[in-house]
Symmetry: C2
Subunit: 253 residues, 2 copies
């Protein structure tokens, strides 16, 4: 077939505000039913960090935070809020760079980002911040299990929108995943002409994350995630953390 089987991406819109304790699986299933959209086995459910973190209650009130001496000194150097810097440091595994008011860290999630993925937007008040789960793969697994217990054998990907080196603009990355091999490993495969392929390991969960952003758009529209259908993937147990490239083997930086 010259035009091949398609992949489709469906936005999950939720008009309410997500609150601590909300059952996201229930919300997704309910919203799908309202649209007569039948979730199928092998669909990929992609959820945004903000929705997941809010449901988990991963919010911190800045007024309750006591900044350490280190946080205060960094905050002063960067010209930033000391309580916020304290939260960023708590969520960081290491500081990658600190300059021009910005703090690039390796977050406990395994992702390199500005501010350890700590998010001031979309929480209903200036004084609260949303933090990412420290174990996003485990959370993805839990969500996948919940879907499965309700009869839906889907894969789950959790995403966040982050900047990246060399390129202007942010894209969606996979923060956690379950039920899908994060990498499509083509090592040893051959192309049409029998040559071993140059491209060897495709980070498909990052591509799925990026694709989902095409329907989630800005968080101002209440789209909490996406369902991807028609993409053939392999099941697997590795999480998205396996995509972290150890610094000492990173030739790009």
């Amino acid at each position: 077939m010259p035009i091949t089987g398609k992949v489709s991406i469906h936005g999950i819109k939720y008009d309410g505000a997500i609150r601590r304790g909300d059952d996201l699986v229930d919300i997704v299933i309910r919203e799908a039913r309202k649209s007569k959209f039948k979730i199928r086995d092998r669909d990929i459910v992609i959820l945004s960090h903000t929705a997941v973190s809010k449901a988990l209650g991963l919010m911190v009130r800045l007024a309750d935070v006591k900044p350490s001496a280190v946080a205060m000194s960094i905050a002063e150097r960067l010209g930033r809020n000391a309580e916020l810097v304290e939260v960023i440091l708590r969520e960081a595994e290491e500081i990658v760079r600190m300059e021009g008011g910005r703090l690039i860290t390796l977050a406990k999630t395994g992702l390199v980002s500005a501010n350890s993925q700590v998010d001031r937007s979309n929480v209903g008040s200036d004084e609260w911040v949303v933090i990412a789960p420290r174990n996003p793969d485990a959370i993805a697994k839990k969500i996948r299990k919940e879907f499965k217990s309700r009869g839906y054998n889907v894969a789950v990907v959790l995403t966040d929108t982050l900047g990246r080196p060399f390129r202007i603009g942010e894209v969606n990355f996979a923060m956690g995943c379950s039920g899908i091999k994060p990498i499509n490993d083509l090592r040893g495969k051959r192309d049409l002409f029998g040559r071993v392929l140059r491209v060897k390991r495709i980070a498909i969960v990052d591509e799925l994350a990026a694709a989902s952003e095409l329907v989630t758009g800005s968080s101002s529209e209440g789209v909490i995630g996406a369902i991807v259908r028609g993409y053939k993937y392999k099941r697997g147990n590795e999480g998205a953390r396996s995509l972290r490239r150890p610094t000492e083997r990173d030739l790009f930086i």
Copy 2:
């Protein structure tokens, strides 16, 4: 609508080998017709670097390349083929890093990658390499114009699959684009609660490129690109080169 309007991604499969002088626009239109797939205005036609470069005849026979003294010395240091290194250097604007047999460059395309995007795979013989067009935005514009002259007002994105810092695995990036604003600029927009959004500029052409890889898969399957339908985008004249982040303002590296 709880499940929102979908975006769909359709692979463009072509069983022949792309040769110098082939009319890619004609090929896409013909393959679509064979499948009774009607290309519509505002569809986004995404084409892989390899198909575009081959149609443009951007291939170099290594036996015809005379390596410079610099190329020979680098090749020796890296333990690599001197003719190949010469081609890589010709396609490079600057060398970013050189280590462990690898050569990371800023290519003339504007992308940072291994080997200036020079591609040994999928060319039919070990002795030829495919190089990327040095002006991918102009090529995208030309392709878009050709589509338009045949009655299809589409946007065009040209992609390549590349490694990136911090993360294992490669993803598809936008190398060139035409008829679509490469960045969705949300600066100044507000979220559900009136807060200015943290995520400010989404690199949508990179997300479209990544999404297209979900149907193009490995080049071993003869899928030369994808058509994305249903994604709402703004028209614009900036190319994908505008996504290049000037090194001096790159806090990540």
